[in-house]
């Protein structure tokens, strides 16, 4: 019962979020701020994680395919497809739910408990729209770019680590990442990135917007937001994979 209550409240909030903005100029200004704080500030962590995961995957693929009956190109192919299909879209979204999601919940939650949201409402500002819409647009916009950056640096990490560790040669690896490439995999993952971006911004915003109490409750809401965002990402990953890939 409580589940349906939250679902209803979430969609009611979304209806307010997509209401007509009071002044477009203010929203655009806020959007650029959010792109910078939520998106651009996440680029470094995405690069670091992707380089390491790309490298680790290459070593693991090389190890499990050390039998001479497997062609060397499988290592590059495995790394590429895992990055494109799952890591750079889904796993990255799970990581970003922790970083961006908890940031959104605590920011909006703190504004709620310090009456800043009431203050906006009394001024006649649609607080849900002003605070949440720019965040959703910013995250949905930036996620596909983060996906592309992640794939690129993941492959680069695999190339560098594989050759330094001596598990695969650079020509074999490059052959592998070009072998049996289906561009549709990229399209599929870009669609997933957009959907996950929406979840990562809107679900934590919901938890922050309706928090009641003080600092302790903001912390609890932040944890709940990350957990539920992760569950929703996995659920939608399953649904989208079933719908778009099989």
């Amino acid at each position: 019962m409580k589940f349906f209550f939250h679902v209803g409240k979430y969609f009611k909030l979304l209806a307010r979020v997509f209401g007509r903005p009071e002044k477009h100029k203010m929203y655009v200004r806020q959007l650029f701020h959010e792109i910078d704080s939520l998106g651009v500030n996440s680029v470094w962590i995405v690069i670091i994680i992707s380089v390491f995961i790309g490298g680790i995957m290459t070593i693991q693929f090389a190890y499990s395919m050390s039998n001479p009956i497997y062609p060397h190109t499988l290592v590059g192919l495995g790394t590429r497809d895992t990055l494109i299909l799952e890591f750079s879209s889904t796993i990255l979204a799970l990581i970003m739910a922790g970083k961006i999601g908890s940031n959104i919940t605590s920011e909006i939650g703190t504004m709620r408990v310090t009456e800043q949201i009431d203050s906006l409402e009394i001024m006649g500002v649609n607080s849900a729209s002003y605070l949440i819409l720019p965040k959703i647009v910013a995250v949905v916009f930036i996620f596909p770019f983060l996906f592309i950056i992640s794939v690129f640096f993941g492959l680069l990490g695999g190339l560098v680590t594989g050759s330094i560790a001596g598990v695969i040669t650079i020509p074999h690896y490059i052959d592998g990442i070009q072998w049996l490439f289906y561009p549709y995999y990229v399209t599929f993952s870009l669609i997933k990135s957009v959907v996950f971006g929406f979840i990562v911004a809107s679900v934590p915003a919901y938890y922050g917007y309706y928090v009641q109490g003080g600092a302790l409750e903001v912390g609890t809401a932040s944890t709940k937001a990350v957990v539920n965002t992760n569950i929703l990402i996995l659920l939608f990953d399953l649904i989208l994979t079933r719908l778009l890939l099989t």
Partner: protein, 252 residues
């Protein structure tokens, strides 16, 4: 002028306001006093429309808030300024940007005009130019309240609401804030409603005082009559502070 007529408000099983009726006049400081949990904040938020009341009428001059469509309410809120207990300044904006925010959002002023208005408002609450670019976390509690007042008057409101504006401040700063609100009320002829449980404020600026107990209006008068009232509940509230008990003794 703001008038509330027979308003009732409950949350689930708990009745918070029962048959509250009163009138708040412009140009004077109207205080709502009462113990914690007496229903002051619920009354204030009900008048503001942040809580939907169960029954009754709330009149802003000749407009009934209860029957107002949401769109009209939003427009009317631009005539309202509010000073929150904690200031509620936007953390991510500087002092000047906080005051400029409602101007950016709701006016078609040029940036020069906005700048002038910001300076005017901040000057009225005695904030020095050096503090304009500071962030709320970099200024004192008293200054935060003054900036909140400046933001509240930025759009030249007809109605000003203050929820415990001097809580957490030292007595001297609290008096400065009280006097500031009173002088702005007179200067701009606003209908000002102040929610407080600070007896110093009542004595200093209580030109009209409404005492609420358990969600009901128990007493209404001015700061001049409050020390001589025979209302038991009000006496229990006021003379819980020994200083005021002493004052009454000396006066009588």
């Amino acid at each position: 002028m703001i008038e509330v007529k027979n308003i009732y408000k409950s949350f689930e099983e708990t009745t918070v306001l029962t048959d509250v009726s009163t009138r708040f006049e412009p140009g004077i400081t109207n205080l709502i006093i009462g113990r914690s949990g007496s229903g002051k904040t619920v009354l204030l938020k009900s008048i503001l429309g942040l809580y939907e009341i169960d029954q009754g009428e709330i009149w802003y001059d000749d407009r009934n808030l209860v029957e107002m469509p949401e769109k009209e309410r939003k427009l009317m809120r631009r005539e309202v300024g509010m000073v929150f207990q904690g200031g509620a300044l936007f953390d991510s904006l500087s002092v000047a940007a906080n005051v400029k925010f409602p101007l950016d959002m709701f006016t078609a002023m040029t940036s020069k005009e906005k700048q002038k208005r910001v300076e005017f408002c901040l000057d009225h609450v005695n904030i020095e130019t050096q503090a304009f670019q500071l962030f709320p976390s970099e200024i004192s509690g008293g200054m935060q309240k003054r900036v909140a007042i400046a933001r509240a008057i930025a759009l030249n409101p007809k109605y000003l609401f203050c929820d415990e504006p001097n809580s957490g401040l030292d007595p001297e700063t609290a008096t400065v804030i009280d006097k500031l609100i009173q002088s702005l009320t007179k200067e701009f002829n606003m209908t000002t409603i102040i929610n407080t449980h600070d007896m110093n404020s009542v004595i200093e600026i209580g030109e009209s005082v409404l005492f609420i107990s358990k969600g009901e209006v128990c007493w209404q008068g001015t700061n001049k009559d409050i020390l001589h009232t025979k209302n038991e509940k009000l006496n229990d509230f006021i003379f819980a502070n020994k200083l005021y008990a002493q004052m009454r003794k000396e006066q009588s």
